[in-house]
């Protein structure tokens, strides 16, 4: 993985110093809360219902064991012994004291981590494929480009008081594992007919109250011009987005209102104007970064068989272990969705265990996923059983990846000051209803995503089954959406009809799955059946 040189370290250290100074000025009353708010948000510090919440950046979802242990240390020292992995591959802590936030940032800086631009109206920490460097279907490792964008967009002087937040995602595979087209900018590495590397550039996706799947704005951007083109798009948006209504200031609204054609024209024009400034990083800098992402020394001649004698182990392998590009290796998904758990939550001891396993079995490499799980990307097949046993002993071997109980949920009204309804207990009730693992496997891939308000942090628009919690005359009410997808077949879910109470929504989900079971044809997932037969059959079963 990438390692800081003296420049990266100096920049992160200066940030700690800056935030310590800003916090001191706030505590001394020299900054008003209104003035301090955007400053703390640019360091990932939110004021939530009960306490401050700190969101720590996990750039493109890549961590090493030392960094994991620091995350465990922070959970123990400054929080209540656990952390929460988010839908943007970051980790957040829910019980932080403002006075201690600078110390946490200082601790993070010792392991080359930070909380820079993890919230606020800035270019956020960017997402990348959690299987990068391990997936068989990638054309190259996207992480060198992700690191280049991280540097290029860190403390960008022109784009630090943007109309709204701005999220970038990068993939290099056919399969989209990170909901790339639901980002402000989605990038997919491709090669053209001449064999040159470039990007498909999608702009204007997003969820929130007005969801859009991003249109393809440029089918092929030469790879070396990535930064200048992003700058051009940001400048068009920064200059011409609305500033009068916070709900209409994301780039997706500008693209939609301006129209795809006109937006593309303006970005191209701006890009031509700034190309001469040579803001693009030279290829030798990309090459320097790429050396840190060279493939680990995979062994050859390894056993390519997995001993499936233990039936529980075999079930876990079938569900949570994915094909690796190197013979004899696998990709291990660690579910953070145990029964009765909180999606994405992990204790300090579990964090330490994952750090140990990464160092011992996965070339010191851990990934976080937008589905709020973790990944050990390079595990030998011969080591799988030992890894599984260690995970099982710590409650981390739930064999439910992409099944009905692998639910994405935002923190909801249990933590969040924006929420209208609770999300976590709804997820727990659904998981309890479908607790039988045989039933879960029979239902197959079924992505349920729950948001506790219209801001859609729980990605409900992109769920095969989405649930949106709203406030209806003072009581929590849950709307059901069907047919969304954040994958390469991206689509937005449709609301089925009137909402439900807390138990009614669980019944409605079950009825929808019953329609699927009755109607499915060979090999169809829930989403496939829905797309084939349409929403009416489901509505009839749910409301009829």
């Amino acid at each position: 993985m990438y390692r800081y040189d003296q420049y990266d370290q100096a920049i992160v250290d200066a940030r700690v110093d800056e935030f310590r100074d800003q916090t001191a000025r706030r505590l001394a009353g020299h900054l008003t809360e209104d003035q301090f708010k955007p400053l703390r948000l640019k360091n990932g510090l939110y004021l939530q219902l009960h306490a401050y919440m700190l969101r720590v950046a996990v750039p493109y979802g890549t961590l090493n064991g030392t960094q994991m242990r620091m995350l465990g240390h922070i959970a123990r020292t400054y929080d209540r012994g656990y952390g929460h992995f988010t839908t943007r591959q970051n980790i957040q802590y829910n019980w932080i004291k403002l006075e201690q936030a600078p110390d946490i940032l200082a601790d993070l800086a010792t392991v080359e981590m930070h909380a820079i631009q993890t919230s606020g109206e800035s270019i956020r920490n960017l997402s990348a494929d959690q299987y990068a460097g391990a997936a068989a279907d990638e054309i190259c490792d996207p992480r060198p480009w992700a690191e280049l964008i991280r540097q290029a967009t860190t403390f960008h002087p022109e784009f630090s008081y943007l109309p709204r937040k701005f999220k970038i995602a990068v993939i290099a595979a056919d399969e989209d594992r990170i909901a790339m087209r639901l980002h402000d900018i989605g990038l997919r590495l491709v090669t053209n007919d001449a064999g040159e590397l470039g990007f498909e550039v999608y702009i204007g996706g997003g969820m929130g109250r007005t969801p859009f799947v991003a249109p393809l704005i440029r089918p092929f951007l030469p790879a070396d011009n990535l930064f200048s083109y992003i700058e051009a798009a940001l400048r068009v948006w920064n200059r011409w987005a609305r500033r009068d209504n916070i709900h209409k200031q994301r780039i997706k609204i500008l693209v939609h209102e301006m129209g795809e054609e006109e937006f593309r024209r303006q970005v191209e024009e701006e890009w031509q104007a700034i190309l001469a400034n040579a803001s693009d990083f030279p290829r030798k800098e990309l090459d320097r970064i790429a050396t840190y992402f060279a493939p680990p020394p995979f062994e050859t001649g390894l056993v390519d068989e997995i001993d499936r004698t233990d039936p529980d182990f075999a079930l876990w392998v079938d569900q949570n272990v994915k094909a690796h590009k190197a013979p004899g290796y696998t990709i291990v998904n660690i579910s953070l969705k145990p029964a009765n758990g909180i999606p994405g939550d992990i204790t300090a001891d579990q964090i330490d265990l994952v750090a140990d396993l990464a160092e011992r079995y996965s070339f010191d490499d851990v990934r976080s996923t937008h589905a709020q799980n973790l990944v050990l990307p390079h595990v030998r097949k011969a080591d799988l059983y030992a890894v599984w046993q260690a995970l099982a002993a710590s409650g981390l071997a739930e064999a439910n990846l992409d099944l009905v109980s692998d639910i994405i949920a935002c923190p909801g009204l249990d933590y969040c000051s924006l929420a209208n309804a609770r999300s976590i207990p709804i997820g727990q009730k659904i998981a309890a209803r479908f607790a039988d693992p045989v039933r879960q496997r029979d239902l197959g891939e079924l992505k349920i995503k729950i948001s506790g308000c219209i801001n859609a942090c729980g990605h409900h628009h992109a769920g095969h089954i989405g649930i949106l919690g709203v406030d209806r005359k003072g009581t929590e009410n849950y709307q059901l959406l069907l047919g969304g997808s954040g994958a390469e077949d991206a689509s937005l879910g449709r609301i089925t009809g009137p909402g439900f109470d807390e138990n009614g929504i669980v019944d409605a989900v079950e009825k929808a799955t019953n329609v699927y079971l009755a109607q499915r044809q060979d090999g169809e997932r829930f989403l496939d059946t829905y797309r084939r037969i349409g929403i009416d059959a489901f509505k009839e079963a749910i409301y009829g």
Binding site: E121, A152, P157, Y161, R239, R243, A273, N277, E285
Partner: protein, 142 residues
């Protein structure tokens, strides 16, 4: 209205009151222009050689449109004064300097020690901008 203007230029302050872009485009003899948030700085590009002061207004400190205005003017080769006025806070002034602002007329007074610390805290930057800071990729590769 600002009591003091902080200047990072050696030349004499230009005292002519700034006129609006519309007024400037109508009466061509003004040498100081004021850009409101949301106005197009590129309208001034044909006239930059006879403008001495461009004032960019920040109605709210969270409104970041003025950063792009300043950069566009510098990219077009403008070397006169660019002044940030309005709701300009000390924690924004480093990035404003990087975007090409070289004077400030903030609504509220700025503490000089805090400003000095803010402007000197970062030894390195990741990307080129309108200032002369050298991006780290250039330091890395010479």
């Amino acid at each position: 209205m600002a009591e003091t203007t902080l200047r990072f230029r050696d030349d004499e302050p230009h005292e002519e009151p700034a006129v609006s872009i519309d007024a400037f485009l109508d009466q061509s003899n003004a040498t100081a222009v004021r850009i409101e948030a949301g106005e197009d700085a590129r309208l001034l590009i044909p006239y930059l050689d006879r403008i001495a002061l461009i004032e960019v207004d920040f109605p709210r400190f969270r409104d970041g449109r003025g950063y792009s205005s300043a950069r566009i003017l510098r990219e077009a080769g403008y070397t006169g004064e660019i002044r940030a006025s309005g709701d300009v806070l000390v924690d924004q002034m480093l990035f404003m300097r990087r975007c090409g602002f070289d004077s400030f007329a903030p609504d509220a007074p700025i503490d000089p020690a805090t400003l000095d610390a803010a402007l000197t805290r970062y030894d390195y930057v990741y990307q080129p901008a309108a200032d002369d800071a050298v991006p780290v990729w250039k330091l890395r590769h010479g």
